[in-house]
Symmetry: C2
Subunit: 338 residues, 2 copies
């Protein structure tokens, strides 16, 4: 038993528009000896995710907003270094939601012991084997009702969720898979590494025109991470009976004024389209089936992934901002190295 120092990032102020240096605060917390039932975990990786921007606002949402002057919560994986619980022993690899800190000490019930699979880095439990992969899977299957042969369009396709969506779509029998991303390098990766049949750089010109060129037969399923002009472009290209999974609208998260919606939503009437929004909270019961599928695909080397890793928990705010502006390929992670 011993004391431990933990470096933590708190929400210091609710941002208007883009978060700034004033939004976050770094603090040192000293944990005392473990209470009965507690464990102490040295984090390995901490996740930064687009949905966190919404929680920085003080608005009612599906999850409560982040509390001011408290440590940012969110997904993280680490290893148990001290334990006063039989259920979560020293040495166990654990997943938790205590977020942006290098060391955490809490009741054992807040930690999920992970299997240790040879060849599977712990970071994957924050990525394709975790919420990221599950988001892609649920969005394609339950939300967008993917059918064999469907043409699938994915916005923000080089991000953590997008790279998973393209591959899962293909593995589940999609016909053509199309993606958009924000740089020539990402576009190249989509077709060379992530199984996309075609991709375009949305900064090269109007999304509406670029999407039309690469979807001569229209789109059956649109998996939207971006919103804005991507959603508008897709609504123009959707085939009759098409399904749109509304997963994210990262293009709008830092808007300070209300942004008008797509000018062609009436296409949903004439074409019989379904737009369905989702967050993962209501679909966690799909996790076992997903993990079984994804672990299988992974062991068969059918899954590629990228991670953009930033070292040091004090860099978490910058990692978050980089991710929001598209500075990542695949999953954005903070390596804590506590």
């Amino acid at each position: 038993m011993s004391q431990a120092t933990s470096t933590q990032i708190q929400l210091a102020a609710r941002p208007t528009g883009w978060p700034t240096a004033e939004t976050f605060r770094t603090v040192e917390v000293t944990y005392g000896d473990l209470e009965p039932g507690q464990v102490r975990v040295a984090n390995e990786y901490v996740s930064v995710d687009p949905y966190m921007r919404g929680r920085m606002n003080d608005v009612k949402s599906y999850v409560p907003p982040f509390a001011l002057d408290e440590t940012m919560t969110g997904g993280a994986v680490g290893r148990v270094v001290e334990s006063a619980s039989d259920d979560v022993p020293v040495g166990a690899l654990v997943l938790h939601q205590y977020g942006w800190r290098d060391v955490v000490q809490e009741d054992a019930g807040g930690f999920q012991v992970l299997p240790e699979i040879p060849g599977v880095p712990s970071s994957l439990y924050l990525g394709i084997l975790g919420m990221t992969g599950l988001t892609a899977y649920v969005g394609l299957t339950t939300i967008a009702d993917l059918h064999e042969g469907d043409t699938v369009f994915v916005s923000g396709a080089a991000g953590a969720v997008g790279t998973a969506v393209g591959q899962i779509a293909r593995l589940l029998g999609a016909g053509r898979v199309i993606g958009s991303a924000g740089s020539a390098e990402k576009v190249e990766l989509l077709t060379s590494r992530y199984g996309y049949d075609a991709a375009f750089n949305y900064k090269d010109g109007p999304v509406r025109e670029q999407l039309r060129e690469v979807t001569p037969d229209g789109v059956d399923v649109f998996f939207d991470n971006v919103g804005g002009d991507h959603l508008e472009a897709a609504l123009d290209r959707m085939n009759t009976g098409g399904r749109i999974a509304l997963c994210g609208a990262i293009s709008q998260y830092n808007d300070t004024e209300r942004t008008p919606g797509p000018d062609n939503l009436a296409n949903a009437i004439t074409r019989g389209l379904t737009l369905r929004g989702f967050t993962l909270g209501g679909y966690l019961d799909h996790a076992p089936r997903f993990r079984e599928l994804m672990t299988g695909w992974f062991s068969e080397e059918k899954i590629a992934y990228d991670e953009t890793v930033v070292d040091g928990i004090e860099k978490a705010p910058q990692a978050f901002l980089d991710m929001m502006s598209g500075g990542n390929v695949g999953k954005m992670l903070v390596r804590t190295g506590a």
Copy 2:
């Protein structure tokens, strides 16, 4: 056997914005003796419907556009006055899609013989017993997945579809039913005659504010006939897991420029909403079940209806325009009296 003269309304020009006097043309057509298999029908009622505005444009849609310089097609009921077909005898009441004319002569295959039910006027086959009622039923059940106890909001609630939606929702077990309409008289009718628990006049103030006042517990199902600010207001009030049936967007049909969509579509993500557009073409298999239900309700006197009737086929264009600007209560019909 004899000749017959028919007065018909043709589409003379595709309108930009609101249709005008130049949009339509009245012509006299002379039918000769019946060919084998043909019938001649004297129409009783001709339907004018909001969807027809979309078909006046020359754009690809779920149904082809109206042909220029041809008679406007659409629902009508009439009586067979001459017949060269055993299947459709003289005197039969028939439903057909030959539209805006007082007399029609075509192959018998284009006419559906209707049952003659005591106390059921023929006009109802264009209204609550016809496509109008079926639209309400399919939208509530198949599209919006109505559950017992749901709070239902209906825009354009005093129109043909809206008056049916409120009553069907209540008969199927909805909790609270809320409607909007465009005049004080209509609002009064909604609560006094059509089973709405609350209603408001959308011309009295911002829909967003008015809707908030009458939906303290939010909205589970929104049946949208109007689009625009109604859709935006509803998106603010939808409960988690809510369903929106996109049936019409009459507020936008005559727009000459692209209209921005709702500024709060991202609520669909955080609240897990489903927006589903539909037209009836794909759901005609629900008609038998619907007719059985609705005929039963009607005979039990559980269904109220209104019709706004204009006399004379040459008045069809004006009836259509009046309907588009809200001049009707319930179903808008042209009585041909051929």
